[in-house]
Symmetry: C2
Subunit: 158 residues, 2 copies
């Protein structure tokens, strides 16, 4: 396959605000610490699909002494609550996605960046395979070159 992913379409993005996450934590008897509040803020509308280490690095700037262990702890709590998606890709560590909308991803082969993709009418796919499997979800990962990297490889002067 080879296709260009264009704009358009309806994109319902579901990301909780720090305030909403605070309420969600309290409702479950979980405490809201300064460390957690900071992470709520760093995750809010963060489109980078960061790793735990990346969040730790940013968090450390604003709160020196925060522990990587606490970052993992909070991310795992959020994932367990369904407020964070856990993504596994080639090339190392787990990435976290505060966008819990039903969406998919496009990963650039060259720079590794990960972009959100919204796919309509997935159920229209013609699939053949294991009889009797009842699929509840589907996750698509497109790979190729992002716009920036695509331009680079079209110019002879790289």
């Amino acid at each position: 396959m080879s296709c260009r992913l264009g704009g358009g379409g309806i994109t319902v993005v579901v990301v909780r605000t720090p305030t909403e996450l605070t309420t969600a934590f309290r409702e479950r008897g979980l405490k809201v610490t300064p460390q957690r509040q900071l992470l709520f803020r760093l995750l809010h509308a963060n489109p980078t699909h960061p790793t735990a280490e990346a969040l730790f690095a940013t968090a450390s700037e604003q709160m020196p002494g925060i522990s990587l262990r606490t970052v993992y702890q909070t991310l795992n709590d959020l994932a367990a609550m369904g407020e964070l998606r856990v993504l596994l890709f080639a090339g190392g560590s787990t990435r976290f996605d505060p966008n819990v909308s039903d969406h998919h991803h496009a990963q650039c082969d060259r720079c590794g960046e990960l972009h959100d993709v919204y796919v309509d009418r997935l159920e229209a796919l013609t699939v053949a395979g294991f009889d009797g499997f009842v699929a509840e979800r589907a996750s698509i990962v497109f790979s190729g070159l992002c716009a920036a990297c695509s331009k680079l490889s079209n110019h002879p002067n790289q």
Copy 2:
């Protein structure tokens, strides 16, 4: 989404025979050792998407003393030659797929088994997202319950 994956469709499976892999290795100046030959055999038409550890366990029965390091070495060589696909899923270790056909996967939430799925007309999907991304490949992972596990959860007497 929720759909049942049925049979039918054309499924062109591409898996090299041990003999073909032997030739491919020699052509590239790589040696064909007893260890590699054993792994070629264990991989041939293996539908289990095994991990390195799983292959090592089976290989050890037939060749006591074979090293896990050698299993990884050979799997990496095969992957570099494009004769093996490397699959990353939740729950631990890398899985290897000797089926290098253009296909996708369905993973059971309950038993974890991985089944091959063939998808037609992928390019008919309506996608919206990052403008300018040029997608060369797509990988779909369906999740839900396999036929066996699906039956179990329909019976009240679990």
